[in-house]
């Protein structure tokens, strides 16, 4: 019984990881194609569908962590996925005016390369039980460049979207109301920008520690 469950788990996770991998591969392919053929203003339109799908699928990973299907703690996956979903749905999808910005290209490419490496790495481990050492190296080294480029793109896009956020009044809740609650999406965006200030170095340092651990462990084996 136990081994059948383990097998089922491996099958499910393999399928999940490889499907999302294909999604991100599509994103990268379509992004580069649009960049070459039409210019950076058209990248978003080319990648919108696979991007929304692949990024939203990541919500399942929170579920996986909660039910114990994977070992990663919810506390580290939640902020990561949270910021991705915020950018994808809360900025890019919600405010079309920002979609033509050049930072969309750098964002999408940074995310896509990172995720392609990550999902194929897990896909390999679940399906075949191992992953080659170069793959491990890629997974724990590309972030050194891609985290700064990705984070800068995220921060830049939020910042440049601010005038559109303020003007549209989208997602704002005003007083008076029965629950005496108010929410201003513009100020929330400013707070989000503020969170990047301590959040980014913290995340980067965490990844550096993970890298040290993972690469030294593989050397020992």
């Amino acid at each position: 019984m136990a081994s059948a469950l383990t097998l089922l788990r491996r099958l499910y996770l393999s399928i999940y990881n490889w499907i999302v991998f294909i999604g991100w591969f599509q994103v990268l392919f379509l992004a580069l194609k649009a960049l070459k053929e039409s210019g950076h203003e058209h990248v978003y339109n080319a990648v919108e569908k696979p991007l929304l799908l692949a990024q939203s699928a990541a919500v399942l990973e929170i579920l996986h962590g909660l039910i114990g299907l994977v070992r990663s703690p919810v506390s580290s996956t939640l902020p990561q996925i949270g910021s991705r979903l915020y950018l994808t749905w809360g900025i890019l999808w919600s405010f079309p005016e920002i979609r033509t910005h050049v930072l969309v290209t750098s964002l999408v490419i940074s995310w896509a390369i990172t995720e392609i490496i990550r999902y194929s790495f897990f896909g390999m481990k679940e399906a075949f039980g191992f992953a080659p050492s170069w793959h491990l190296w890629l997974r724990y080294s590309t972030f050194l460049l891609l985290y700064p480029t990705g984070i800068s793109s995220e921060v830049g896009l939020i910042y440049f979207a601010l005038p559109y956020i303020k003007a549209s009044e989208k997602y704002c809740i005003r007083m008076p109301n029965k629950w005496n609650f108010s929410f201003d999406y513009f100020y929330a965006a400013i707070i989000a920008l503020g969170i990047y200030v301590p959040g980014s170095p913290h995340l980067y340092r965490y990844m550096l520690a993970q890298r040290k651990r993972a690469l030294s462990k593989s050397k020992k084996e």
Partner: protein
Amino acid sequence: MKVTLVSRSGREFIKGGLELNDSATVADLQEAIHKRTKKFYPSRQRLTLPVPSGSRERPVVLNYKKNLKDYCDGNENSLTLVFKDLGPQVSYRTLFFFEYLGPLILYPAFYYFPVYKFFGYEEKRVIHPVQTYALYYWCFHYFKRIMETFFVHRFSHATSPLSNVFRNCAYYWSFGSYIAYYVNHPLYTPVGDLQMKIGFGFGVVCQLANFYCHIILKNLRSPDGSGGYQIPRGFLFNIVTCANYTTEIYQWLGFNIATQTVAGYVFLVVATSIMTNWALAKHRRLKKLFDGKDGRPKYPRSRRSAIACSETLVASSAGAQPLLSPRLWLPRRRSAYSIVLYC
């Protein structure tokens, strides 16, 4: 006897160690360390027995009242201890005073001063009765807390790291302002009269009950500040270990029923989860300590820690058990009393 002190990295902390009387207590050792190092006053020192490297055991922290001899291995007249600097410390009284002072001052500021001008609202506003009662309720609550800090609570020897002052003040002062902003807002919408009365009435009853719980807890400890743990008995303590937290949680519920703001309910949820964590830890600690052996009484089985359903949610989110574990959801034997406090 000779005491050798090492830091956690293994380096010798005091060159040559310290020489003390055979009958010396840990407190004497702490004094000696303070004399030698000037900077490390006793409440900043954490002294533990060395743990073999690779061992996952938690190190034994030395009790300041005990004799050093009690920690020596067998016949040996020397001791090696691990020293850790806990950083600058403040007394709990200082910590509590400053964290409670914020809400006591900031909330009335939103009520009395034309603060909302800076948020773009006109100066003229109508003040509803519920907003005035909320002000009295809130200020009474934090005034009570400060009074209890100085005249009721008996803290054990412990102090708290200075960094906690900033962390705790940020928590209390931010939430205090957040709630005060909405309850005193010019566009505030009051609830019906009956709901307000039920909310405040229930809240006041819980605050009184909470005060009584604090009195009971105070009487468990002796005035000389030696701390220690006893099994609390009587009143709501027969049903829950941390009746003081239970009454505090329900008291905030009363406030929120009367004032009805999302900000207040958010605070309730956060405060409840924090207190539930504490209650679970204290419940476990008391159950472990009062195991019925060596003349110690056995901790009553049927007691819950604070509020049953929030326990399971907090325990599962803390990773103690995944949400889908069957142990979490199968019915457990309950006493009749504990049904009363299930939410």
